[in-house]
């Protein structure tokens, strides 16, 4: 078959790249070879636009065992325990086919974690949809939530947290980011680097079908009016097989049979074989006749580019083959020796006794293009006037509007569709500041959260990037954990556009600054570009997955108020920043202006002090102040604790709206018992931490002096109304 320009274009390879391919391999590629390049050089696999900037992120400290570059990151959580975690996007497929797209997103990220020898202990997700009024949103939301649940529930890993957001920038490009966390013994971590020549290469798991062919390339391009036609590039998940694969792999990992292991994710057999061999600086030879196929007459091209799910590639100690076969047979899974490692440093594929591809591995990995794309600054310095009449708005009415809005509504409609208590170690369920999972059999736990704040990033990517890292840190602090590290999923539009590339570069800069200051390294992640349809890009959306350690679960903290007659403290200085606040966006529909500034010094100081107060058991409840400001944060504490509050705005020159709805950063609300009031105040003063005492807890009413006095149940009803009403007819 002649490789025409049209074929090259269809493979997402531009003319310069094609020239480079010929240079690297010294010949014209055949169709199979072109397909392999297309996958390996896709944005999704090669990170060609992002590599330069990802290198600037801090990735190391004394807790980091494995940073970016492996299937997932690994951090030390003491006592020979380590956490393995990563977040990944499955945006494009989920828009095309929401159930399967979301389901296989969960399946893929779980494989990344158990590939490293860890038993997954939790999943989380961050999902973004278009405006709730957009015609597709209801169906997409329903499909994505069912898909996430369908996969996670079946495999039996609790889904313990997440976020659901709506914004018209996602109308034609939804985001589905899934995070998984696993637990492993520090001395039993498995890696993907191949070692040794003539070692058997083994394919295990499901059979290969024709689903997901070119998924990686699809995810590296914009959508257009023919998006529906891309349905066949979406993979179909089978969580049952994944459960079997998980158990079989963990059983085989009990001894030292496995030399290296890699899951077949994006670009399936191609990327897994290339990555393993090139990391080990070896060659690999595969006999494609040995690939277990689900369908008849599959071609080498289809086999190499299929993204059928629930498959792994292993390199085993040759004398352990029989043992491996026995284990996989027990679990009813395929186990096929398909090739061997070689010293050629080439990828060699044979089929029907003929050589069908022969490529130097370096041409696929190290030599893949890296771009230094042009970008322009987005920082929004233009002066925006504050809307005039906001002071005439009634506080209670505004509060109600915010509590009823889709973005601020209580989301149990979503997370009650996810099994969040299976495995018997879920200490904090979804709905709090972080999910908390007990380390099985021990009295310590891990806190996990996922966060994003795209509208801050759109308004100012540097500040937004900093903010989202701080938000993650704060959520981990609020449950009594010491933050350890993050994983990030960077969702952007088309990087070939200067403005989008600028959003990316500046967001990464913000993330990097915050991570460095807080000693909160990035240990894994994923970049998703081309979230764009017909020239309209999503808002820049970095999603941060953070983990923290609670050394002793006796000092875990929750956000629900615990008792009446205790004091309500606001920690951190309130400056009344209303631009980009929920008050402006939801109530006034005013979306201009800069996001609140981040002061990293205060962030760290305030956070560490909250941690100290929690560990010394001086506080009853803690909730970080985020979306909606003080008043919304307090309402959430009241509603979850079924305890009311009586507050008044302290003397200040901000005015009541700015004080109650401002979204200044690095703040928390804490509940302090009468008996601890003096001691807490003293500690705060000694440490130069700014605080206000705004009132006391009381029975079932929330009241604000001179403004309102309302039954808690009324606010709760409003807060839980939206989701149930939206799906009333479903």
């Amino acid at each position: 078959m002649k490789i025409t320009e049209a074929i090259i274009h269809k493979h997402g390879i531009n003319p310069e790249e094609y020239k480079k391919i010929i240079n690297l391999i010294g010949k014209e590629p055949n169709l199979l070879e072109l397909g392999i390049f297309s996958a390996m050089w896709s944005e999704h696999c090669s990170y060609k636009s992002s590599k330069k900037y990802l290198k600037t992120l801090p990735t190391k400290n004394k807790k980091v065992i494995q940073g970016p570059g492996e299937n997932a990151g690994v951090v030390d959580i003491d006592d020979n325990d380590a956490l393995v975690f990563k977040i990944e996007s499955h945006n494009h497929p989920s828009y095309i086919e929401p159930y399967q797209g979301a389901a296989t997103g969960v399946g893929g990220i779980l494989r990344d974690v158990f590939t490293m020898g860890a038993r997954p202990i939790a999943t989380l997700n961050s999902i973004h949809f278009g405006s709730h009024k957009h015609s597709k949103t209801k169906n997409l939301l329903n499909g994505v939530v069912s898909g996430i649940g369908g996969y996670g529930n079946c495999i039996g890993i609790p889904t313990v947290g997440g976020e659901v957001k709506f914004d018209s920038s996602y109308n034609e490009n939804i985001l589905v980011n899934a995070m998984a966390v696993g637990l492993v013994k520090k001395n039993k971590i498995f890696y993907s680097k191949a070692k040794g020549i003539d070692q058997p290469v083994i394919y295990v798991g499901s059979k290969t079908g024709r689903d997901g062919i070119h998924g990686a390339s699809m995810a590296s391009a914009e959508f257009d009016e023919n998006t529906e036609d891309k349905k066949p590039t979406v993979q179909v998940g089978d969580p049952f097989t994944e459960k079997l694969l998980l158990e079989a792999c963990l059983e085989l990992m009990k001894d030292d049979s496995i030399i290296s292991i890699q899951d077949m994710g994006a670009a399936g057999l191609t990327s897994s074989s290339v990555e393993m061999a090139s990391k080990g600086n070896l060659g690999i030879e595969i006999d494609l006749d040995k690939i277990p196929c689900r369908e008849e007459k599959m071609t080498p091209y289809e086999m190499m580019l299929s993204e059928s799910q629930e498959r792994m590639l292993l390199i085993l100690n040759s004398e352990k083959i029989e043992n491996g076969k026995k284990i996989f047979n027990k679990w009813g899974l395929d186990f096929s020796v398909i090739g061997k490692t070689t010293n050629t440093k080439n990828l060699v594929l044979n089929f029907n006794g003929k050589n069908v591809a022969n490529l130097p591995l370096s041409s696929l990995s190290n030599e893949a293009p890296v771009y230094d794309r042009k970008w322009k600054k987005n920082s929004n310095s233009k002066k925006v006037n504050i809307p005039k009449d906001f002071k005439s708005l009634k506080i209670l009415e505004s509060l109600k509007r915010i509590l009823m809005s889709p973005n601020n509504s209580e989301k149990s409609w979503v997370w009650e569709q996810y099994d969040h208590t299976v495995m018997g170690d879920t200490v904090q369920k979804p709905g709090g500041d972080s999910g908390v999972i007990r380390i099985h059999g021990k009295n310590k736990g891990v806190a996990i959260t996922v966060d994003s704040s795209a509208h801050y990033c759109l308004a100012d990517p540097v500040t937004g990037g900093k903010q989202v890292v701080c938000e993650s840190w704060r959520n981990l602090i609020s449950v009594g954990s010491k933050p350890i590290a993050i994983t990030n999923c960077l969702n952007f539009g088309n990087p070939e556009k200067e403005e989008i590339m600028g959003q990316f570069v500046e967001t990464v800069d913000g993330i990097s600054q915050a991570c460095k200051y807080l000693d909160f390294p990035v240990v894994s992640g994923n970049v998703s570009f081309y979230n764009e349809t017909k020239n309209k890009a999503i808002s820049p959306t970095p999603t941060i997955g953070g983990v923290g350690l609670i050394k002793n679960l006796d000092s875990m903290m929750t956000r629900n108020l615990k008792e009446t007659e205790s004091h309500i403290f606001v920690i951190g200085k309130t400056l009344g920043h209303l631009f980009q606040s929920e008050f402006f966006r939801e109530v006034l529909k005013f979306k201009d202006g800069p996001p609140p500034e981040i002061n990293l010094f205060n962030e760290k100081n305030n956070g560490l002090l909250i941690n100290k107060l929690i560990v010394e058991k001086l506080v009853n409840s803690v909730h970080d102040i985020s979306s909606g400001g003080i008043l919304v944060t307090l309402c959430e504490m009241c509603i979850s604790g079924k305890i009311g509050a009586k507050i008044k705005v302290p003397q200040n020159n901000l005015g009541i709206h700015k004080y109650l709805f401002g979204e200044d950063q690095s703040r928390y609300i804490i509940e302090v018992s009468k008996k601890n009031k003096n001691e807490v105040s003293k500690i705060l003063e000694e440490n130069n931490i700014y605080y206000d005492i705004i009132g006391k807890t009381q029975n079932d009413r929330i009241s604000l002096e001179n403004e309102f006095d309302v039954k808690l149940s009324e606010l709760e009803k409003l807060n839980t109304f939206w989701f149930r009403n939206y799906f009333k007819y479903n």
Partner: protein
């Protein structure tokens, strides 16, 4: 007391129930579904999960597993059998308990704490609920909507074979307190001899104050007392 937990491909609450049994000093072993001989056990547990991926029908393929013959033999001899969630579905597919479990009325998976009234405490599983018969347990299922014809339901009621019913905090049994559409709010059933119990809620998930409740513990304490 000795127990055996049967592990099917796709079981995912097998570890959870084993942890609970051991916590209450019940000596447990895990039995792979392909075994044909059940070791000597006082109690057999069919755990929750998605045996065979729920393909064909929940619990259907598992009910044909080799070990099931011995489980039925054990039950017919009066041995205790507890089926939780998918285990309840399997018990129904084996014919050891009547009726069917349909998809939840709202066609969604439901994972949440619910209130239950222990209707029959005169059996070895629920004996200790005499002192506290409105309890809170967690449900996590897609097919928990119990259905049986009117005659069967009448027999179950008349013979007091309904172990648990969904209710509200105060013990009211009505449509509002029925999470999944089950006939008569049924959440758990006994066989006529009361040595087999099938339940949708997961007692093994509420055995620790840290895990939002301890009402599940009472069932394990009852079992322990039964021997």
């Amino acid at each position: 007391m000795k127990s055996s937990v049967i592990v099917f491909p796709g079981s995912n609450c097998d570890r959870d129930i084993a942890v609970a049994l051991e916590k209450f000093q019940i000596k447990n072993q895990m039995i792979w579904h392909n075994e044909t001989n059940l070791p000597k056990s006082d109690l057999v547990v069919l755990p929750g999960g998605f045996s065979y991926g729920d393909y064909l029908r929940t619990g259907c393929i598992a009910s044909k597993s080799p070990i099931i013959n011995d489980v039925i033999r054990h039950a017919n001899k009066g041995g205790l059998v507890l089926g939780i969630c998918n285990g309840f579905q399997i018990l129904i597919e084996t014919g050891l308990l009547p009726g069917v479990l349909l998809r939840n009325k709202n066609l969604k998976f439901i994972s949440k704490n619910v209130f239950l009234k222990v209707i029959n405490t005169d059996n070895q599983f629920c004996f200790n609920y005499k002192k506290k018969n409105i309890i809170e347990l967690h449900i996590a299922h897609n097919e928990g909507n119990y259905f049986a014809d009117i005659n069967t339901l009448q027999k179950l009621e008349d013979n007091n074979l309904i172990a648990l019913k969904y209710c509200d905090e105060k013990g009211n049994i009505n449509t509002d307190s029925n999470p999944n559409g089950s006939s008569n709010n049924i959440a758990g059933l006994l066989n006529r001899e009361k040595n087999i119990l099938g339940i949708m809620p997961h007692p093994e998930r509420l055995i620790d104050p840290l895990l939002s409740g301890i009402d599940g513990s009472i069932m394990f304490e009852s079992l322990l007392k039964s021997k």
